[in-house]
Amino acid sequence: MRLAANLYPRGWRERYGDEFDALLEDYEPSWREFRDVMGGALKMQIKMGTGYLRMVAALAVTGAIIAGAASFLAPRKYVSSAVVLVAPRYIEPSVQGLLSRTMLYTLVFDTTLNLYPEKVRLTADDTIAKMRRDLRVSRVEAPAPPDGRGPEPALSISFAYPDRVKARAVVDRLASEVVNRSISIDSDRAMMWQELWPHVPPPAPGHEAQILVPGGVPGKFSGPNRLAFVAVGLGAGLLLGVLVAFAVAQPKRMLWLAACAAGGAAVALVAAFQIPDRYTSTAVIRLLPPMFPERPSGAAFAASMGERFQRVQQAALSRANLAEIIQEPLLDLYKNDRARKPLEEVAEKMRTQDLAIRMLSPPAASPDSSFSLSISFSYPDQHKAQRVVQEIEVKLLDRWIQVQEAMLRDAKPGDEIAELSRRHLYDNLEILDPASYPSAPVAPNRSAFTTGGMGLGLLIGVLAPRLRRQKLQTA
């Protein structure tokens, strides 16, 4: 109790300190009396001007100290990094490939690596999302070689994980994947060239893929960001200090505001539970670069792959095609909407509100650049959401094949590009990630609803008494 008595403001202690300490000697020490002295000290700090500021500052500093200490308990992560030199045309596909769900799924569920033990209680997609946050794959400039050529583009792969050996194993595995895939494509390319043009010498293969900097066992751990922890603790302490000060200075008003905020949150939460859950299925498809970009391209191929594909996409997602999907007996989508609106309107709603096609890497003007895009569809039924994405993938692939076949029909005999297309070597649409099965709903976001409701409740709590006062004054 004596310790708590020291928390009273200095000015107050100068006047009452002696007699207060004498009084404490008469009391039987107990938690009840300790709490009473602490409460008295807090109130006195707030009532005596600068004491209020000191209390807020003390709480902020305490928050920062607690958060700083907590940052030492947060799991440490070791970062292993590698740099892979790879032909520029393979960089973008490599980035997309390494970050694809298929690739990460293979690593997460590899029993020799045994990553993320928490995956037993998470969904596969959540574990993959977690790994995606720990993995960085980006284009970097490799140091210039000694032969005088300028710096070459390369691929940087880094992975952060609590186990340093596993961090390195993942980086090594991914770096090898890039090199092996690149070597395999180059070797197929050389073999096909020989078969197609036995008398034409093949173009120089360019630099071979190689691991410039292998993934090492990291000695130093990275993060957690202690500064960020301390800043959050400081902010939380400040906020708490202001709230406590407000609660002590104006307890009735605080109670009213708390009731308004709680009421708003409760109403919003009830409203959120009235909205049906929505699930989103996502797939990623990729258009691979042509295997022989060096060969002449005919007039039919003047447009870049990106432009051609955008046209295909528009056709595949036409209202007629979407209407077909909507009416498919197994899907039977938007039943209620269809009862009230024409099918065309429902298809338009599907395209503009529930279906999202997003370019993950923008199509470049160059005909040999690759790009990928994600297709997402949100619907209250998770099976149907997945099925729709699968249907759209099929429609895109079908349409793409039709376009290729039409170009082959128009090609002159002996056209090399036509020959390459016939052998599926010119360019190729590939499903990088198949349509996911959404296990958890993406909407409604109940925590956002609750926070919004709480904010609205607070606003009403602040404005309502003012409006009432104004009304009384004017009356």
């Binding site: 109790m1 008595a5 107050w12 009452y16 002696d18 007699e19 207060f20 300490d21 004498a22 009084l23 404490l24 008469d26 009391y27 009840r32 009396e33 709490r35 009473d36 002295v37 602490m38 409460g39 008295g40 000290a41 109130k43 006195m44």
Partner: protein, 95 residues
């Protein structure tokens, strides 16, 4: 009636007392236990209002005396409370 300030004034109406003597007196006549923080919160407020006066400390324990203004305030509060009590009793009889 558990307002610590009124309880302290009521205790001092009997005569000068130091802190712990007030606590024991209040426990006896009102059956309310005042913690040290609550008691000195009330004493600080009452002294600032001029309703009680500090006397010379005896062995670190300082007695307090009810001032004339404090007596007036207490009488006013008691009268108001008395009216509330009488009205409530009358209504309860007729209910």
């Amino acid at each position: 009636m558990t307002d610590p300030a009124i309880l302290v004034l009521a205790s001092l109406a009997e005569g000068d007392k130091h802190g712990y003597a007030m606590v024991l007196d209040i426990e006896r006549f009102a059956d309310v236990h005042l913690g040290p923080g609550t008691l000195y919160g009330a004493i600080t407020r009452l002294e600032q209002q001029g309703w009680i006066q500090p006397l010379e400390a005896e062995d670190r324990r300082r007695p307090y005396r009810l001032s004339a203004a404090g007596r007036g305030y207490l009488e006013e509060q008691v009268r108001s409370l008395d009216q509330v009590v009488k009205t409530a009793l009358r209504r309860l009889k007729h209910a």
